[in-house]
């Protein structure tokens, strides 16, 4: 299974504006890219915070072509929203969740935040690529890409403009 982390970030490394959930600062170009590119993945893993921020959109767009896994300490809380193979809530570690999807035969997995999921997957070397949309804003404070003191190295695969000042940077772990 090919596993790709996909995030939108301010140029000073914030995934959120201050304490907000979600990424409302994402430009139209990034939102278009993200919607389109997600259709090329047959599964995605996200955290509970990200799910709650995008819940209405996700519930309105559930599809049998795409399994979403939400990692949360309290999966039972979401029992009424769960649909096996479409929207599943699990208390797994992110690396176990990736391995489980690979065993179930999924081919392309998008990791769509947050820091705990990405940090665990890079450290365990189950992340194949990291795609960062860099928006031309700075917030000073906000959620970050990785958690704790880490030291990861990457290689730049490509750069692309998604809008006049919005860059898509694709990396893979070195």
């Amino acid at each position: 299974m090919h596993t790709v982390g996909i995030v939108v970030m301010s140029l000073d490394g914030c995934l959120t504006r201050h304490d907000e959930h979600g990424a409302e600062f994402a430009s139209a170009g990034d939102q278009r890219f993200f919607r389109q590119v997600l259709t090329t993945f047959d599964c995605a893993i996200m955290g509970g915070g990200g799910y709650r921020a995008a819940r209405d959109h996700i519930l309105a767009n559930r599809s049998e072509k795409h399994l979403r896994i939400v990692l949360t300490r309290a999966p039972d809380r979401y029992g009424s929203e769960a649909r096996p193979g479409i929207l599943e809530f699990r208390s797994d570690d992110s690396v176990d969740a990736v391995r489980n999807l690979a065993e179930r035969g999924y081919a392309r997995c998008a990791l769509i935040g947050g820091a705990r999921i990405l940090t665990g997957c890079v450290r365990a070397r189950v992340l194949d690529e990291l795609w960062i949309t860099l928006e031309p804003v700075a917030f000073g404070q906000g959620r970050r890409l990785f958690r704790g003191a880490v030291e990861f190295r990457f290689e730049l695969l490509s750069t692309e403009l998604l809008g006049p000042s919005t860059l898509l940077l694709r990396y893979r772990p070195a």
Copy 2:
């Protein structure tokens, strides 16, 4: 006077690796670029921490063509190293320091960190451009580009490769 912030940053928005001072993680390509580009500025402003990290190099390369201002709460401590017009230690606010250099007739000022200097200058709109070298590393923890909860917007001016995976991104405040 044209004022440009120049930083090297990890792809997750750290100016330092964890608690280190200085930017030893900067690639050869960035170091070459930084040395070369500094010669196109007739003055530079930096913080006391950055000065202490690069002190030996700075003292060995003092030049009458280039004034360095070090902003520190204790300028008297550096009395023996100071040379008017070459290396000056001041307790000014960063915006006052920029205005003072403009009044003295300097033409191009490089702001070479840290967060307090850059945040003050963007907020006061005395920064004309921000050049970020994005290195393909991630540290999770480290000093950041801006201090406090801010909301700044920029426009992307150009992108350039300084090495196989090292990007130079030039922005200006929007």
